[in-house]
């Protein structure tokens, strides 16, 4: 009984009461698209990865054009947030899932997730500052595909992943074409916006796009996130 009383007291005065324990699962819902290694971050209310209708930061651009999340992780660190290690550090294949289990977060924290969508020029999947509920339960969030507005969607797979370099860095499914002439060389909306989708074509030896219109298109939502507050 004495031990129990002490333990209870410890709990009452411990800052652990201000924390909560959550599990996160993200599922790539698409049939033919890949996500580059995902950023999972927990941070305060004032931190955002981006704002819709605003220009992308250089860090977001590096993620959306080349899958490099190190810049965004640095921004989260600098803002006092926490970057969480993804259990699936590889590219997330179509219809696959990744989980983060038993994560301790401060109450009133916000969750952000993002990664580049392949094969696209500067398309990304994102959850941008979602308030983690304090009430225990299972919460489901569906994520859309966005366009960073930093690169023309030429749909040419040429290895170009560095910021400002045209082209798509890779098609992990190796199920597209070659020698495309390019769908467009303009980016009409240079702000972050909802991605209009890949166009593609059915000419694997040329045409305007290196993507296959029967395989590389999508309809939103492209991902499902399940957060369980334990």
């Amino acid at each position: 009984m004495i031990a129990g009383a002490v333990a209870t007291q410890g709990l009452i005065f411990s800052p652990i009461l201000l924390a909560e324990n959550i599990d996160i699962e993200l599922t790539n819902l698409t049939q033919g698209l890949y996500f580059t290694p995902l950023l999972f971050s927990v941070h305060d209310e004032s931190t955002h990865l981006y704002q819709l209708g605003q220009p992308a930061s250089a860090e977001l651009q590096a993620m959306a054009e080349g899958g490099d999340i190190s810049g965004l992780q640095g921004l989260i660190d600098a803002a006092g947030g926490v970057n969480v290690e993804d259990s699936e550090p590889e590219v997330l294949a179509p219809a696959s899932s990744t989980q983060i289990l038993d994560l301790e977060v401060d109450s009133a924290s916000f969750l952000s997730i993002t990664g580049m969508i392949l094969p696209t020029n500067d398309g990304f999947v994102a959850l941008n500052g979602w308030k983690i509920p304090s009430e225990a339960g299972t919460y489901t969030i569906y994520l859309n595909a966005y366009d960073a507005g930093t690169e023309a969607n030429d749909e040419i797979v040429n290895g170009g992943g560095a910021s400002g370099t045209p082209g798509i860095p890779a098609n992990p499914g190796a199920n597209g074409g070659v020698d495309a002439t390019g769908v467009t060389f303009d980016e009409a909306n240079t702000m972050i916006h909802v991605h209009r989708g890949n166009v593609g074509d059915t000419d694997l030896a040329g045409g305007s796009s290196d993507l296959d219109s029967r395989i590389h298109r999508w309809l939103n939502p492209v991902a499902k996130v399940t957060v369980t507050v334990n």
Binding site: L29, T30, A95, R214, R217, L219, K224
Partner: protein
């Protein structure tokens, strides 16, 4: 039970009856399940509606489609899909000694802009609704919902949900006339071959002939977006 003998026999019978009532809390619940076709030109195949508990999953993102789901999504024939649900019912019934699942088919095609309501009933506390219907002018596309929790629905209440488009992953989305069974083409429905990714995922949409795919049997009217349908579930007396 030995204590039931003799003078305690009467009270034990009362106790046993009380136990039976609590152990058996499975009053039948009746539902009306309505689906509205929200597409431009994609008739829906007859609905497959299953009420079940968490012991059954009609499909899972990333997993191979069952043969029944393949048949439904390629040809619109829901019989094997519903049989698979019933096989699950038999197993559940053996374990629990009471039905916790029901399955029902719609009457026929649901044309664009039209709707159909089917009635079904089930016992149990945990009641999940799964539903699938093929968009007949696709290779293997279906609108559906998996394990929609309607347990808390009270008599007279209703819940609504938009239905997402799935792709069974069992037939490549060729859009060729020979492979589209609906009125757009009149081609083949079910084919036992699995010439696609062989996992269930969200549908990428159709390309159609107006969008550069000249071999496609589909035209602009067959394109769709999410959601493809509206689901309304009402608990009725």
């Amino acid at each position: 039970m030995r204590y039931c003998m003799g003078i305690l026999k009467g009270s034990c019978a009362v106790f046993a009856a009380a136990f039976l009532i609590t152990g058996c809390h499975h009053d039948t619940r009746n539902y009306e399940v309505e689906v509205v076709n929200l597409t431009q030109n994609q008739p829906f195949s007859p609905l497959a509606v299953v009420l079940h508990d968490s012991g059954y999953a009609p499909w899972t993102i990333g997993s191979t489609a069952s043969q029944g789901l393949e048949l439904l999504s390629e040809s619109g024939d829901n019989s094997q899909f519903l049989d698979e649900a019933a096989e699950n019912l038999s197993r559940e019934a053996l374990i629990n000694a009471h039905g916790r699942m029901s399955r029902v088919s719609g009457e026929g095609l649901i044309l664009p802009g039209e709707s159909e309501a089917v009635q079904t009933s089930v016992g149990g506390y945990e009641i999940l609704l799964s539903l699938a219907t093929m968009l007949v002018n696709t290779n293997d596309g279906y609108a559906g919902v998996e394990a929609f929790d309607i347990s808390d629905l009270e008599v007279g209440e209703e819940m609504t949900r938009f239905l997402t488009m799935y792709d069974a992953g069992t037939e490549g989305n060729s859009e060729l006339a020979s492979s589209i069974p609906g009125p757009a083409a009149g081609g083949e429905g079910f084919n036992v071959a699995r010439d696609d990714v062989n996992y269930v995922a969200h549908h990428p949409g159709v390309v159609s002939s107006v969008d550069g795919y000249t071999d496609s049997a589909l035209d602009q009217s067959h394109r769709f977006d999410n959601p493809a349908a509206l689901l309304v579930v009402r608990r009725i007396e």
